[in-house]
């Protein structure tokens, strides 16, 4: 919609090998596991014990299958540090969907979600799909954010919520695929309907997974 000429060009050149191209961006404080989520989704591996922080923003592609159509996901992985905010926000506009990540063992990263959402409102497209993700649920003992709190916050902003573990892989694929299929549906269904679908979807998506996570948390 508001993309540059070059991104259009990019789209047209890739049209041969895929039906749809979407841009997803990972946002959230530093050390919440954004890169780990992405690497788990893309390569099925976990960057274990190897703290590597992202510099600026990283760009990766992944081709996925959504109900028989080939979807190319262009994924922006961002550095969470404050000094990179202006760089990353320059690319918010390009995103069709945002994966907003916090660390369930780090209260501060959860408390900052409101600030992130404010930034998103300011810079991103209005129609952008957002998914709130609480990561690192494998570290259940150190949990500082209850699943209900995540759910509640997500409900306030009318966005879906999921809890994941990049370490075990739990829900990681689903998180990305939910976004991919939602984007595909909204593109096929047309702009007018997509906004409505978004909201309804949110609730549908949120419930099964968050209850799933609650089970895990109560142990």
């Amino acid at each position: 919609m508001k993309k540059t000429d070059l991104s259009k060009k990019r789209g047209s050149s890739t049209i041969v090998d895929c039906d749809h191209t979407f841009t997803i961006m990972l946002l959230g404080d530093s050390c919440t596991g954004k890169t780990c989520l992405l690497v788990r989704f893309k390569d099925g591996t976990f960057l274990n014990n190897n703290f590597i922080s992202t510099v600026g923003i990283d760009y990766r592609n992944k081709l996925v299958d959504v109900n028989g159509s080939k979807v190319k996901l262009q994924i922006w992985d961002t550095a969470g540090q404050e000094r990179f905010r202006s760089v990353t926000s320059a690319y918010y506009r390009d995103a069709d969907a945002l994966l907003l990540v916090f660390d369930v063992t780090n209260r501060q990263s959860f408390d900052n979600i409101r600030n992130w959402l404010a930034q998103i409102r300011e810079y991103a497209q209005e129609s952008v799909a957002i998914l709130l993700v609480g990561n690192k649920i494998d570290l259940n003992v150190q949990r500082k954010v209850k699943p209900d709190e995540g759910k509640q916050l997500a409900a306030t902003y009318e966005i879906p919520y999921m809890e994941t573990s990049a370490k075990t892989g739990q829900n990681v694929n689903d998180a990305f695929m939910q976004l991919a299929s939602k984007l595909t549906r909204s593109r096929v269904g047309g702009q007018e309907d997509s906004n409505k679908i978004d909201l309804n979807d949110s609730r549908n998506v949120a419930s099964p997974y968050s209850s799933w996570c609650c089970g895990g948390a109560s142990k």
Partner: protein, 527 residues
């Protein structure tokens, strides 16, 4: 005033001989840049010095017990230095026989213990004394030490004076006060004041490279003197530390030169041409530099006509790539400030490894913050061109090939090692390590000797650098040769004769000249 003599001297009991030739400058007394030091420590300041002295006396004792770093320093000389020091700098306060610490809380003792484990430390703090960075330990644990450094610097600043450095035994402490930051380096591995200052410079540049000078000034202006800058530097601790380590372990950093990957010149040219033609094909404007690097070595570089890339800036780029494995298998886009190029703003870097099998990394630096997609296209085109022309195989082979000059080719058994810097291009070539420099300790000791040699040659105030310095020693004989075009530092067997060493260096220079276009980046292409 020979405090600095011993610190600089590789082997104090050895004599230095100069080659009797017309253009040799006679080296009489070693320069003692500590002159201003004496001025700093007039009576009201001596108390403060005493405090430092007491703290570090413990360090000195310890280090002289485990005399690994500098075995060549004879104990008699060590004593002599202490005496000279005591006379000059801290005469009114006799260092107590037992290490007594004026700061006596338990945490502080622990922190100081931690400091003693390391030969060198760098501290960065704000003008208000707020800790920002320490190479070892945490800023919180060392807060009392930060406070002390801050007090020393503020004290002199308040008297319109500048505290540059002071020395106590083998310990050298240097201070730099720049804009809103105060930096200090403490070393007991025998580094000179100018070396430490250069390293503080490097840390300062690293900080600027992630923030820009403008932003650094603004942030303290807007958020107050008490702002915790660590918030903005989060994640850069590693690159700050690595920059300091690189300065210690790689002579290129200290000599302000860049290592170049040896490569057939036509292959190197092909890479530069491929970048330029890809940039033109994609109609990209505003690209300032295109650089290919591998393992802290420059492969090639293209640039906008008007601009050149300063070696100090190039080291920031090399350090960025070396410290961030996150650039692998992905295209990255990051702001980076190159302080020598422009310390008031960011360049934007498209960073990507050339392919999964090639360890070289391509950086495209532009002033346009929205150029990612355009540069991504350039990169794609560039790789296509390389693959088509088979240049990629040549590049990969060069990356996996020898990274240094092989002295075996010359066949001189007693020429052990050298470092050569082309002064016009600021590029550096060194020999591959060979016996007797086998262990990393032995190699490091050689690098340290070079650093002292460089210091002796250059640190001569208004006299200008020495031209030739022949310095026989127990471990090795060092020969330095400096002309307007190059600087050469070499290590020979201790038994080498002057004439023989000089003629071998002559042959070496001829060999380097012959291979110049393989060992150096002779010309850079522009767009």
């Amino acid at each position: 005033m020979s405090v600095d003599v011993v610190v600089k001297n590789d082997a104090p009991n050895e004599e230095d001989w100069l080659i009797p030739s017309a253009d040799v400058v006679e080296e009489t007394a070693l320069s003692a840049p500590g002159g201003q030091l004496a001025d700093c420590f007039d009576s009201p300041r001596k108390n403060t010095t005493g405090t430092i002295a007491r703290i570090e006396k413990g360090d000195v004792d310890d280090s002289s017990l485990c005399e690994q770093e500098d075995q060549s320093a004879s104990s008699s000389n060590e004593d002599a230095v202490s005496e000279v020091d005591a006379d000059r700098v801290i005469s009114p306060i006799e260092p107590p026989p037992q290490p007594q610490r004026s700061i006596s809380t338990e945490e502080t003792t622990d922190a100081l213990e931690l400091l003693k484990e390391h030969g060198k430390h760098v501290f960065v703090m704000s003008e208000a004394g707020k800790p920002i960075y320490t190479t070892h330990g945490s800023e919180e644990d060392l807060s009392s030490l930060f406070a002390l450094i801050h007090a020393l610097v503020s004290f002199t600043t308040a008297r319109n004076d500048t505290l540059d450095s002071f020395q106590y035994g083998r310990l050298t402490i240097c201070f730099t006060h720049r804009g809103p930051l105060i930096l200090a380096a403490v070393s007991r591995v025998g580094e000179s004041q100018s070396q430490l200052n250069a390293q503080l410079d490097l840390v300062h540049s690293q900080i600027l490279s992630v923030l820009t000078r403008t932003a650094l000034l603004r942030v303290f202006e807007q958020r107050g003197h008490n702002f915790d800058l660590r918030r903005l530097l989060q994640g850069t601790e590693k690159s700050l530390g690595t920059a300091v380590v690189a300065a210690e372990t790689d002579p290129a950093v200290g000599l302000n030169a860049v290592r170049v990957l040896p490569m057939v010149s036509s292959d190197r040219d092909a890479l530069g041409q491929a970048i330029v033609s890809s940039v033109n094909a994609c109609k990209v404007k505003n690209l300032v530099f295109g650089v290919i690097v591998v393992r802290r070595q420059l492969v090639t570089m293209v640039r906008m006509k008007k601009y050149a890339l300063h070696p100090a800036d190039l080291h920031i780029v090399l350090n960025l790539v070396a410290c961030n494995p996150s650039f692998k298998n992905v295209e990255s886009w990051s702001p980076i400030c190159l302080p020598r190029f422009d310390d008031s703003g960011f360049l934007h870097a498209h960073i990507s490894y050339i392919s999964d099998n090639c360890p070289a990394c391509l950086l495209l630096l532009t002033v346009d913050r929205h150029a990612f997609y355009a540069l991504s296209e350039v990169k794609k085109k560039f790789v296509e061109k390389l693959t088509k022309s088979k240049s990629i195989a040549a590049l990969t082979a060069a990356c996996n090939g020898t990274r240094c000059f092989d002295l075996d080719e010359l066949g001189y058994a007693d020429l052990w090692h050298f470092v050569y810097k082309n002064r016009t291009s600021s590029q550096l070539c060194s020999a591959m390590f060979r016996p007797p420099f086998i262990s990393s300790d032995e190699r490091q000791r050689l690098i340290d000797s070079y650093a002292r040699l460089v210091d002796r040659v250059h640190d001569r105030g208004d006299d200008g650098p020495l031209k030739i310095l022949f310095q026989p020693g127990e471990r090795q004989t060092l020969l330095a040769w400096v002309t307007p075009n190059f600087e050469l530092y070499s290590a020979f067997s201790p038994f080498v004769q002057k004439q023989s060493a000089v003629s071998k260096i002559d042959r070496l220079l001829k060999a380097l000249k012959k291979e110049e276009d393989r060992l150096f980046l002779v010309s850079t292409q522009t767009f």
